[in-house]
Symmetry: C2
């Protein structure tokens, strides 16, 4: 199904429903609700929670500038249902602003975050982290994940390398490279870019050949793309790469990057993941 | 000067003085004071501020487990003098704990942070991000930074590549690789490891050939080394590598790694840096 675009007004995209917030009238406080289309094994897909935390900043009336960095800490499981977000601008400078965001369910803190919004300026431009050279998405086959999880169906993924193969032997390296976009298709924006930064399954699955419990503990994304670049991107694929750096003591760190088809580095992202093996 | 170790009791290491906190008796609240030995161009060296934020967690009586991740947001300049830290355990799970830390001077938030402490467990172990192959520290020359900054004198740095050369042409790539340790020498621990993650000068200096204003906006470090590995390390050098990924809109992201001489990846770190050019 790829005809979602024409129906936007009558049939909002599940990403927009899942990240929709309601201002409560109380300063800094929003409410929202988990969406079954982005359900993970336990609670929602981490990327959608990260996008929700970013949304509270983006929708805050006191916001200065664009989202340039966000760190999301997955403190405890998010239960299906309603949540309350508190997004506080804790320091506002001339060209940047710092935020602390908390997601509460009842009297339990589910998620905390910090974010930086800023005005961009003209300065030296260069990309050192280049996109890997891989076949285009049309030359690759879309993957289907097992139907026990909802959220992978919200993404069309076409792997160039590092696909999970059930029953495969442990891989010697944890790198995956894939083309990915929202499904149904949706024009890229900074919120969906935040979510895409977390679209990579835990690297431990590849290295151990096991689907044992694993979950992101803390996640950071740096947004490089200017809003006009995102607007020009439309609903095309982005190229994603993820790789683990060290697995030790039941944790590993995973770094990811997302490029436009033109080779523009849109976002870079890092996370620490808890895993069993 | 390398004889600091024998004098530890009578003459505490400047790192320990600069990160010393006083419990106020009020729950979660500590006080501290900037130290001139770690002064930067404006305010203290970011790495010492990051270590101070981590120290508030490490010294908190309710702490569970070891520091595994910390994100520090440099919200505004830290003024020379006293500060107040509030370190709150915002969620405690069975094997992990989430923290929000704030550094205040008067009624101004200078720095915010989140941290994760956790119990490590036995699990699959592997290092994918390998140390670059470079000459040992004894084969390299210690560098002297210009005397206008205090904090670089607190580190002995021996560059294998990517040294700043005054008047040099812009470099085509931003990678630096160097051996580094505290000066005077000090046994490595998790606090000094946090500070070492920020020891790399802004990558923009190499790429533009200019020493224009630049400052870390947000910094994240993942700690891979177990305490027993750090204890075994002693006061030896660590090998550090830093590289920029994309420079755009007046910001760039910089990723770093620190290895023991044995090749063990002790910590990985990422930051978003504001710069002019």
């Amino acid at each position: 199904m790829s005809g979602g675009q024409g129906d936007e007004k009558s049939d909002p995209h599940p990403f927009d429903v899942a990240t929709a917030l309601t201002a409560t009238g109380e300063p800094d406080v929003f409410t929202g609700r988990t969406h079954p289309a982005y359900a993970n094994m336990v609670g929602p897909f981490g990327g959608i929670t990260a996008a929700v935390m970013a949304s509270a900043v983006l929708e805050h009336p006191a916001r200065l500038g664009e989202l340039t960095a966000v760190t999301v800490n997955f403190a405890g499981p998010v239960q299906e249902g309603d949540y309350r977000l508190i997004a506080r601008p804790v320091r506002t400078n001339r060209s940047s602003q710092h935020w602390i965001v908390e997601q509460w369910q009842g009297d339990s803190l589910a998620t905390s975050a910090t974010a930086v919004t800023a005005l961009r300026r003209g300065a030296f431009e260069s990309t050192e982290h280049l996109a890997p050279s891989v076949p285009g998405p049309q030359e690759l086959t879309p993957v289907r994940y097992p139907p026990m999880l909802a959220w992978p169906d919200r993404y069309e993924m076409r792997f160039a390398s590092g696909m999970l193969e059930p029953g495969a032997a442990p891989a010697p390296e944890s790198e995956s490279v894939l083309w990915v976009r929202d499904s149904p298709r949706r024009a890229l924006d900074v919120r969906s870019l935040v979510a895409l930064c977390d679209v990579f399954f835990p690297r431990a699955f590849l290295r151990t050949g096991q689907f044992a419990p694993a979950g992101t503990v803390t996640f950071t994304a740096y947004m490089h793309a200017a809003p006009e670049d995102l607007a020009a991107h439309g609903d095309d694929f982005v190229l994603g790469r993820a790789v683990g750096q060290r697995f030790a003591g039941g944790y590993f760190d995973q770094s990811a990057a997302l490029w436009a088809p033109s080779g523009e580095l849109l976002a870079s992202s890092h996370q620490l993941v808890y895993f069993k093996s």
